[in-house]
């Protein structure tokens, strides 16, 4: 990754969408940035934090997205340009704050605030395909969606100016195929921002009393709508009177261009790419629809543009209005992300064209030869991961306890437990903090006759993010439950971001460590700590806690993320090998079937277990647990 503060004005760079947004924010004079890590939004803050010292900006990993947004809002009240970035699910956490801001305004110090929300169509790294654009409309925030890396950078700068001018926060919709793809960006000039924050104590900013403030906001949005009708971020390419008009936004634009090119429909199909999505540029859209015979909407995930387009056409009372095709008509699926083939299929169906990606012979070879050869590669924990040991011990403890303990889980690398290749110990899994929250409910059902033990799981970062309120609730309402904190010392899943318990800030400075263990003790919980690699002691402790009916118990299973350990220590702890004399191979299969460690597998030629040298972390877990003592380990000097 290039140093984002040292790019030369006028030059081209290969930037990730998130880096383009970070660079745009720097050029716009951002001085305060806050976020909680969440794929695919994480790199916006990572990038800003990486240049925080040299640029003098503030960059923080906040405890959660709501806190990040409130911190960023405060900095805007103090007159700074601020950014809060989050993933789709993070928005749900931040929403209570966001919903109020534009009624209250950003104060009187000429601050500006940009909120970037990264959606994840296709749920590459999310629990759902939430389309957050509706929410921008609900919060009355001007919304833009970039269709290229250059636009991501330019819209970021534009929205900071718009935010300051109208004194409301603005919204940039990011999405996986932009956030985590890379493309060409020509950057402009960056000058260090040096505005000194201050607040006029005589002023009050709040949404109360809402209706008159709402009226002012409605007027502002009407003015912005006029601006958006003329915006340079909306553009048409194609014939004057197209047979089909594609109206698209975001990733829909490059996919539509590909599809039109592949089907050689350039003379028949025009593409109206929208960048301004709220307020919706209805007049612009209608003016193009008037010239077309049919309309196809290409967007992701929900029919947001489609709904607004249909409303605009209805308002315009067009005679013989073109048919508007898309999700409603069944031409494009409601489910999943855009890709060129999806648009090719829709165009093929509209124009009655037959398109085959490749000939039947090749397709047959793929089906006959390639498919049977391609074993699936599900997601599973890294070799050496502490979660493998934790879940093994937990599964054993639940079996031995024998009372069908219910396990409510949470979001982190340990989520892979419920994936097809995981051990599938957990019973429910929803969102950040949901593990402890749901355990609160199960833990209070005893009075109604529920007789199963209850275990709520969270990670260390998840503990600080959203597990403390349900922990307090559990104590207050006398829930009987065990919380297991899988403490691997880092926010591992999103790429090793520090958190309140790490003793380091986003900019790698030393900071007080918030001690989750002491916090739980101070609340009156029974607190225990184990190393999950001692699977026997861990399982025994869990069994003991399940039998303890005295309220809330918290067990910290503490061991550093193996990837983090490797980064810091740069060597394996043991030398590990298989004694093929002792190994019972497929008659046993404990290491590769039960533990499912990618570092060891079944070897067809010998019929025994074999270390996968390129992968094995030599953590020694399989050596400790091998029923035949056939896996040997020797400490490295």
């Amino acid at each position: 990754m290039p140093n984002i503060a040292k790019l030369e004005s006028g030059s081209y760079y290969l930037l990730q969408g998130n880096e383009a947004i970070a660079r745009g924010a720097l050029e716009a004079g951002v001085q305060y940035s806050a976020a909680y890590p969440g794929t695919p939004s994480t790199e916006i803050l990572t990038t800003l934090a990486s240049v925080a010292k040299e640029t003098g900006i503030h960059a923080e990993w906040s405890s959660n997205e709501k806190v990040a947004t409130e911190a960023a809002l405060a900095a805007a009240y103090a007159g700074l340009r601020t950014i809060s970035s989050m993933k789709n699910a993070g928005l749900n956490v931040a929403m209570d704050t966001l919903q109020h801001i534009n009624l209250a305004t950003l104060g009187d110090q000429k601050g500006a605030m940009l909120v970037v929300v990264a959606d994840d169509p296709q749920s590459h790294a999310s629990g759902d395909e939430e389309d957050t654009r509706w929410v921008a409309q609900m919060a009355n925030a001007p919304l833009m969606e970039p269709s290229s890396f250059q636009e991501a950078y330019e819209m970021t700068k534009y929205l900071f100016d718009l935010s300051e001018e109208f004194n409301i926060f603005c919204w940039l919709r990011d999405y996986t195929r932009l956030a985590h793809s890379r493309g060409r960006v020509q950057v402009g000039e960056y000058k260090k921002a040096t505005k000194k924050p201050k607040y006029d104590r005589s002023k009050v900013f709040t949404p109360y009393i809402a209706p008159p403030k709402h009226a002012i906001l409605v007027e502002k949005m009407a003015k912005i709508r006029e601006r958006f009708e003329e915006s340079r971020f909306n553009a048409y390419e194609g014939p004057e009177n197209p047979e089909l008009l594609i109206i698209c936004c975001g990733s829909g634009a490059p996919c539509s261009r590909d599809a039109v090119e592949d089907l050689k429909l350039q003379d028949k199909v025009g593409i109206l790419k929208l960048g301004t999505l709220w307020p919706f540029p209805s007049r612009l859209v209608v003016s193009h629809i008037k010239k077309a015979k049919k309309v196809l909407i290409v967007e992701e995930v929900d029919p947001y543009v489609e709904t607004h387009t249909k409303a605009a056409v209805a308002d315009a009372k067009l005679a013989d209005a073109a048919d508007i095709l898309g999700r409603g008509s069944g031409h494009i699926s409601y489910v999943g992300e855009n890709n060129p083939d999806r648009v090719i299929a829709a165009l093929g169906s509209i124009f009655g064209l037959k398109y085959e990606a490749r000939d039947a012979d090749y397709e047959k070879k793929i089906n006959d030869i390639a498919k049977p050869m391609t074993a699936s590669r599900g997601l599973i924990w890294c070799p050496g991961c502490p979660h493998r040991a934790s879940y093994y011990a937990l599964g054993n403890a639940i079996k031995r306890d024998g009372r069908n303990a219910v396990v409510t889980s949470d979001i982190g690398c340990y989520t892979m437990d419920i994936f097809p290749d995981g051990p599938q110990v957990a019973n429910t899994l929803h969102c950040m903090g949901g593990g402890v929250g749901e355990a609160c409910g199960f833990g209070q059902l005893a009075a109604l006759g529920f007789d199963q033990p209850v275990i709520g799981i969270c990670g260390d970062s998840t503990f600080f993010h959203a597990s403390i309120p349900p922990l307090v609730n559990a104590i207050y309402n006398r829930a009987n439950m065990t919380i297991i904190v899988l403490d691997n010392a880092i926010t591992a899943m999103t790429g090793f971001q520090p958190h309140a318990g790490s003793g380091r800030t986003a900019t790698q400075e030393a900071t007080p460590t918030v001690d989750a263990e002491s916090l739980c003790r101070s609340l009156g919980c029974r607190v225990e700590v184990e190393d999950p690699f001692d699977t026997k002691a861990t399982a025994t402790k869990i069994q003991e806690l399940l039998k303890d009916d005295n309220g809330v118990k918290v067990l910290f299973l503490r061991r550093k993320c193996e990837l983090l350990r490797q980064r810091q220590e740069k060597k394996h702890p043991y030398k590990v090998w298989v004694d093929t004399e002792k190994c019972k191979g497929d008659k046993c299969g404990f290491c590769y079937r039960i533990l499912q460690c990618p570092g060891i597998g079944y070897d067809k030629t010998t019929g025994k277990a074999k270390i996968q040298e390129a992968l094995c972390a030599e953590c020694g877990l399989c050596a400790d647990l091998c029923p035949s003592k056939a896996i040997m380990k020797e400490e490295r000097a």
């Binding site: 695919p40 890709n339 060129p340 990606a357 090749y362 899943m493 079944y602």
Partner: protein, 202 residues
Amino acid sequence: MAISADPLNLVICGVGGQGNILLSGVVGGAYLKKGYYATIGETFGAAQRGGAVFSAVRVSKKREYGPLIPDGQAHLILGLEPIETMRLLQKYGNPNVVCVTNMYPVIPASVSANKESYPDIEDLKKAITDLSSKAYFIDATSIALELNAPIAMNIIMAGALLGTKQIDLTPEDITNELRESMPPDRLALNLTALERGMKAIA
């Protein structure tokens, strides 16, 4: 002779943790510096280590292409693992595709667990050859282990890609990118890796 196509669609595939992202950035960055539009599509972030991952590198003189390649339209597949080449051939392969594959298997959990099987290496070579116009094979992981640096396998594959002379990039183009994308203390090793990869194919 280098593949002549605009856009040029390269697929770089492998297993999470093999260095796919660095490799696609090096190749895409080298094209960008030569005045091309370059777009790289990939997904990462949710503990993809051990999972199948791929990058799509799309290069053009005409315009900026999106990060996703239409089905059946890859010109070259650079596979860091043999069944990953097979997997991506299924989606992007066509009779004209060129494949460059590291033949060192990374056994999936499903195979380790003996629930599915991993094909014989010779059968894999035959199938990849059968499904492409030209297929190159290299044991890049073994070379990396010889260099005592399993992590440098991706750069050995960059060397292999250059060795095929199927793309319009020179060793200098790649070397310049490496210089920019890694700390100086790791450069020498990676330049050796690049060299070894080139020699293994040429």
